[in-house]
Every structure is written in structure tokens, then in C-alpha cells.
């Protein structure tokens, strides 16, 4: 049911040409995705998806729409080449999936490491929520990398966007 709604939302995002409706539909998509993640018992990820995808991203998209037109312009190229690229990428991904272990197989690293963390976490870190202890402690290096990615993204956006207005106006804010 949720997946059917997800598919319907995706199709409408592609079909609808009013960008305001598209922005709202992507928010709907994020909330549906968050529901799917809750069904899968991944509450932490669902929380992130709902707040980032449906909250911040939608505000940013609406803010962008305020700066531009709200109707999508007609494409000037034929969709053959993008369609070809998309089909090839999809085919490669599906081909690569055949190398994955079967869903729920008992001997995958996931099934071996998961119970190991569950058994060790409370004793070693004193943190009852294993998601937090794995993210911040056992995989602390990865999370440091993620924080650096966000830092880099923020710097990049500031570099791109803060330069624009100062050029055509003489009352640039500087900084």
C-alpha cells in the first residue's frame, strides 16, 4: 500500500509541470518514505527523512521557486539520450543486485555483526540505543566523515550563492 502510494507520487512528480505542485509532492514522497522506514523499524532514519526531506528540502525548494518561474519549461532536446542512460544505469544496478546474498541470508556480515554489536554495546559504551552507539562510537570515523560532508556542502552552497547578489548591487553585505 505504502509502496503503491510511493510509486504514484513518483509518477506524478514526473508528470506534473507545475513546479509548486512538484515541490509539495516531493514532501509527500518524503513523508511516505518516512512511513515505510517506520514500518521497517528504522525510526532514526525515518526521523531524518521526515525532517530533512519533507521539512528543510521542501522549504529550500519553495524558496528557489520564489526566485524563478513556477512552470516547468518545455524540454528542448529529445529524451532519447537521457532515457538510454537511465535504462543502462538501471540495467547495471539490477545486474549488480544478482551478486548480493539472498535477502535474509544467515551468513552475511549484517547478520553476524548485528547481534555482535547488540551484545557488546551496552556493556562497552553504557548507551542503551545501539543505533547511537554504532553511529557515534563503533563507526565514529564514518560519522566524522559525514559531518565533514555536510560542512563541505554548506561551504560550497555559501560560495555559490553568496557571491551572486553582491555583484549587481552596490550595497553588498560583504563577509
Amino acid at each position: 500500500m505504502l509502496l503503491a502510494l510511493l510509486a504514484a507520487t513518483t509518477v506524478s512528480v514526473v508528470r506534473v509541470r507545475n513546479l509548486f505542485a512538484v515541490a509539495v509532492l516531493t514532501g509527500v514522497y518524503s513523508f511516505l518514505m518516512a512511513s515505510v522506514l517506520i514500518v521497517l523499524d528504522a525510526v532514526d532514519v525515518a526521523m531524518t527523512e521526515a525532517s530533512v526531506g519533507a521539512g528543510i528540502a521542501m522549504v529550500l525548494m519553495l524558496g528557489t521557486l520564489y526566485l524563478t518561474k513556477t512552470e516547468e519549461s518545455r524540454p528542448v532536446h529529445t529524451p532519447v539520450l537521457p532515457l538510454f542512460v537511465a535504462i543502462v544505469t538501471g540495467a547495471v544496478l539490477i545486474w549488480a543486485m544478482s551478486a548480493l546474498p539472498p535477502f535474509g541470508a544467515a551468513d552475511t556480515p549484517l547478520q553476524v555483526a548485528g547481534p555482535d554489536y547488540l551484545a557488546r554495546s551496552l556493556k562497552e559504551t553504557g548507551i542503551p540505543n545501539v543505533v547511537t552507539s554504532v553511529l557515534a562510537s563503533y563507526r565514529g570515523f564514518d560519522t566524522l566523515g559525514e559531518t565533514t560532508v555536510i560542512f563541505t556542502a554548506g561551504i560550497a552552497v555559501l560560495l555559490l550563492l553568496k557571491r551572486g547578489p553582491a555583484r549587481d548591487g552596490d550595497n553588498g553585505e560583504g563577509g
Partner: protein, 139 residues
């Protein structure tokens, strides 16, 4: 701008609750779902809501751009600083057990500090991106 009384009053009512929820998600991340990233986004959303209703200028008087631009690298520095401190005190990089006399307590302290670092960077970055977008629309 003066006709949106309901929006303004409702916003004033839910803003403290949103900030409180962000703090709850931050500090309760050890026990329930959430952590620095989610809390940072919720805190940023609080200020973005304030900016949407009361205007960008009012928000930038509360949190100036200079503060935001200091917070973005500060969070990464807090995180990496915890790692370097563990390194200097004889452990591996990001080995929180070195932060305290007892290993488990050091782990809790380390995770807490690291989550604070994530919170600072994430909330500041989200707000900085919003400022950048909204600041262009004003002209």
C-alpha cells in the same frame, strides 16, 4: 503582513515546543531514536519557521550570519578535537574510552561530545543554506 495574526500567534506557541523537542532529541539520543543530526535539523527548522513568519531580518538579529559561519566549522572541530584528544592521551583516533578513567563512562562522554559537534555543524549548515536562498529573494 499585518493580517496574519493567526500564523504569528500560532508560531509563537509552537516555536518553544519545537526547540524543546530538538533539545530532547539531542540529549535523549542515547536512549531513544535521534541524535545530533536529527536534532540539528529540527533546531534549524525552528529558526526557518521563525524566518518565514517574522522575516529574515528578525531571524538574523537573533542568529547573525557571522555566528552561523563560525558554527559550521566549529562542529567539525569539536568532533575532530575529541578524536585528537583521544589520540594525545594515548589511544587511537576517536577512541572515547580514553576520555575518562572508566572506559564505558568515557564512551558515553565521547558520544555526547561528538553528537554536540554534529548538532552544531548540521544546524548551522541548514540555516546557512536557508539564509543564502532567502537572502537572494529579498532583492
Amino acid at each position: 503582513m499585518r493580517l496574519d495574526v493567526i500564523l504569528r500567534v500560532t508560531t509563537k506557541l509552537i516555536l518553544p515546543l519545537m526547540l524543546l523537542f530538538a533539545i530532547y532529541v539531542q540529549f535523549h539520543g542515547d536512549y531513544g531514536p535521534g541524535g545530533g543530526f536529527q536534532a540539528g535539523v529540527i533546531a534549524a527548522a525552528t529558526f526557518i519557521l521563525y524566518a518565514l513568519i517574522y522575516g529574515l531580518g528578525a531571524t538574523q538579529r537573533i542568529i547573525p550570519v557571522a555566528v552561523i559561519e563560525t558554527m559550521i566549522p566549529l562542529g567539525v572541530l569539536i568532533y575532530a578535537g575529541v578524536g585528537v584528544y583521544a589520540l594525545l592521551s594515548g589511544g587511537n583516533f576517536l577512541d572515547y574510552s580514553r576520555l575518562s578513567h572508566e572506559a564505558a563512562h568515557g564512551q558515553e562522554l565521547g558520544v555526547f561530545l561528538v553528537e554536540v559537534g554534529v548538532f552544531v555543524t548540521v544546524s548551522a549548515t541548514m540555516l546557512a543554506i536557508f539564509y543564502a536562498f532567502a537572502g537572494r529573494g529579498r532583492r
